[in-house]
Symmetry: C2
Subunit: 204 residues, 2 copies
DNA sequence: CCGGACCCTGACCGACCGGTCAACGAAGGG
DNA sequence: CCCTTCGTTGACCGGTCGGTCAGGGTCCGG
């Protein structure tokens, strides 16, 4: 049990006993650090201090564990970010809140985030990832809509909206490759610093 | 043989017969699409139309193939980008050239780039990646130095240089996750569009 | 004609993979 | 008391993994 990382609640879509949560959070950490293929069911069982068979008592197979992690964390991310957008505020401030909330979510559910962001991005058979992609599209659509609103409000100059959205998402999605928790700027601050750079530009 | 993707020349560090190049480029494509663990030596041999044993005639083990790809492409990237920086030009233009050159390199050596960028980023034992990291540091140091020069020249306002560098690199390194070759904007143009957004800012 | 040197092969190895199965022990309701 | 349910286990399965090995073919210099 020991030092397990938090998992997003994700009530629906399966039972959430303590043991299940332990398996999910432990697996998320392993998937994030050694990859999907690099993590065996034996590794997970050993890290949980249980037998391999017990994993199959709670989950149908390895894919289901992974799918629960990625789908759950992606859905929670979108809902968390949406809940953090200040209603009625200026579009640019809402973009800033979007980025800060993403940084905070990343900081809180680091392993699940990394596992979701890293693996299977180009799996042709797209195992159980279709529903996750729906949430991912909603997340990407959200930042584009915020940018469009900022353009309509005259805060942002007319530009390639999908590309601008990708620029924002690139900065956020690449954070896990260099950011160390408990070291340097907290992730939400990094996200806000990124916003300031992107919004105002590097130019003097 | 058939449809093999180009590999950077990388003369030094091993023989470069046609067969070796075929193995390297085929492996790069497989590593990029199915990951390191997801690519077996049998897969590589089959895709090359040769026996698995022949792989071990040309390479000591799987790691050596991977190391040749990642080290070679990283080294070539740095040297390519450095050769593309306009001497004596304004620092901001040199940053723009840095980004465009990276986009062009990505477009040209797509599989090797993706294989290098995707895998083993947090391998604790860091197999044969130490020399590659030296080149990676040089690449990252280069963009930071360019930004510092732009600040000294008064083109860019004083700011967190490492963070600004990471913003630039994030945009470039995330491209492979969404950019399709032969579809949409060519990668160098994307890189330049990114520069314009980051340099001038989204703000109207 | 000989003998290396160099490409190249199929058969094989132990280890580990994801997944299955029969059964055990404790808990709890009748 | 028994019976069912549920969390839990170790032994086991076929298949695939990275890697080895002995040797076949072919070409070339002597």
């Amino acid at each position: 049990m020991a030092e397990m990382q938090a998992m997003p609640p994700e009530v629906e879509g399966g039972e959430t006993t303590e043991r299940v949560l332990q398996i999910l959070s432990t697996s998320a950490r392993l998937f994030a650090t050694t990859g999907y293929d690099g993590t065996s069911m034996r590794d997970i069982a050993l890290a949980c201090g249980i037998s391999k068979s017990l994993l199959y008592h709670h989950f149908a197979d390895k894919d289901e564990i992974f799918a629960r992690i990625t789908l759950g964390s992606t859905r929670e991310l979108v809902q968390f970010v949406e809940s953090r957008l200040p209603e009625g505020a200026a579009p640019s401030l809402r973009i800033r809140a979007f980025m800060a909330a993403t940084g905070e979510y990343f900081q809180r559910y680091r392993w699940a985030w990394i596992a979701s962001t890293t693996a299977f991005w180009n799996d042709p058979q797209q195992r159980r990832q279709t529903e996750r992609m729906l949430w991912r599209d909603r997340y990407e659509g959200l930042i584009r809509r915020l940018i469009e609103e900022a353009i309509a409000a005259g805060e942002i100059r007319p530009l390639d909206v999908p590309l601008a959205g990708r620029l924002v998402l690139s900065a956020l999605n690449w954070m896990h490759r260099w950011h160390k928790p408990d070291q340097g700027m907290p992730a939400p601050e990094v996200a806000e610093a990124y916003f300031d750079m992107i919004f105002h530009g590097l130019k003097r």
